[in-house]
Subunit: 285 residues, 2 copies
């Protein structure tokens, strides 16, 4: 696996290095790109990793370009990992017809509909990518990991953390799609990837259903949500449903409505430092 990983980009940034890689993925059977921000530090140091899952239309690059997170990661001594948002280049018929389905819209699930069988971003993010990191980067400590994301990536972070409470030491989200089985984006995606017949498959990837059923160790979840977010108004996000469902069990959700903020990376940039510090506390504790 080490031989298969190819470095395709490198920028020095806040004393560390932002590197971009590509590799042939087993999970999704195509070439996948991802980025790693390595904070400055001694060669012998091992950095915990924070996975960032991006939203619809994004690639592995948006977060590193726009969020201003490297500055904070450099200070905290944590590595940042940004996977892509779907398989690419497979030429599945219709894969690029919509901005909210197919390419750049993987929804961090394992598709069961034959046509979309390569859309296995859940396996890619939770299993293959950590293995690739562990195999290639002795200075990353993938046993100390946490996860966060935005919008579709917030949905990804919440569902993945709820399904793997021992794998991630912290989870938070910006404007996550909290209840996809009950919103237009989610219904379109889940119908396409999971089929319309068996709705129990949908529930496996719905953060609100998962948090209601959660019976793992105590978990804290931080959600920042812009109060002026058009997609909140359009009912795509539904953070209240998630908060309500969380009350029945061992998950403590902090939902902060940030007045005046929208769905953009300007919102994320404003609050990313707070999220990263929270993650670092968990990763170093």
């Amino acid at each position: 696996m080490a031989d298969a990983l190819k470095e395709i980009g490198c920028n020095k940034c806040f004393g560390g290095f932002l590197k971009r890689y590509q590799h042939q993925s087993d999970s999704v059977q195509c070439t996948m790109k991802f980025q790693v921000y390595f904070p400055p530090g001694a060669v012998t140091e091992k950095f915990p990793v924070i996975y960032w899952l991006s939203g619809l239309t994004c690639t592995d690059e948006n977060f590193m370009v726009k969020a201003g997170a490297q500055r904070v990661a450099a200070e905290l001594g944590v590595a940042l990992i940004t996977p892509d948002t779907s398989p690419r280049g497979l030429n599945v018929e219709g894969e690029s017809d919509s901005w909210d389905f197919g390419v750049a819209a993987g929804f961090y699930l394992n598709a069961t509909v034959e046509k979309w069988k390569n859309w296995r971003m859940y396996d890619y993010v939770t299993k293959e990518l950590p293995q690739v990191l562990a195999a290639n980067f002795p200075n990353l400590d993938t046993s100390r990991a946490s996860i966060m994301g935005h919008s579709m990536g917030g949905h990804g972070a919440l569902t993945i953390a709820l399904k793997n409470p021992l794998k991630y030491k912290c989870v938070s989200a910006f404007a996550p799609i909290c209840h996809p089985i009950n919103c237009a984006w989610g219904q379109k995606a889940f119908t396409g990837y999971l089929g319309a017949e068996d709705k129990s498959k949908w529930e496996e990837y719905d953060a609100t259903v998962l948090v209601e059923r959660y019976n793992g160790p105590k978990m804290d979840v931080l959600i920042d949500q812009g109060g002026n977010d058009q997609f909140l108004k359009d009912n795509q996000l539904q953070p209240e449903a998630f908060v309500e469902a969380s009350k029945k069990n061992n998950v403590a959700v902090t939902l902060r409505i940030q007045e005046g903020y929208d769905h953009s990376y300007y919102f994320i940039a404003t609050f990313i430092e707070d999220h990263l510090k929270r993650h670092a506390r968990a990763l170093f504790s």
Copy 2:
């Protein structure tokens, strides 16, 4: 003029607001866009302004998306202003044939070649834009202004400050094109916009010539230059020429070679806080 300005974008960001505007420009005779970051503050407060001039291929948006400057501007209580890099939409024959000439390559000069007569970005940035700001935004104090930029925009910042030492209280640059009459980018641009006949016209927009001839009040200039910048290696930037020329007079240049950094916004993001704090000290002194 106030009626002509139209707000076309607004994002809350670090407690303040990033706003995008368009207006019909007298200087360049087309619709121009620019952005303003208003830091948080009382309605009655008046903020000094820092102009950021972007490099080749950029628009008014790149800096605000990528540099992470709003965080610092919010803390310091300064406004950030990003003009576009050239006129657009004039359909001058060949205006988009090159990435380093025409559209997005205005070089912050006033063209004298008839074909490019609308390329008057020097007038736009130094005269019209400050007037538009003063006329429309009572909370911007354009009498307290400073200027900085990157690459072609670093050239713009240096030349504009050297030609207008009383107008700008501070100047700094990231990887500026310091000696355009002596590099490929500059020679192409100046030949096109100013003609090849009279080289004295070129010297009016060459920072190294201008700093050598400077006879204004004492001026400090900070330049950060990535040591791993491909365009430094390609001889497009030539900061040493600028430093050498500055030694003969009343300009103190601090040139910092930042080892390992390239020409990208990751380099700018790393050092922007230091530049902004330096500017704020001058603006508030």
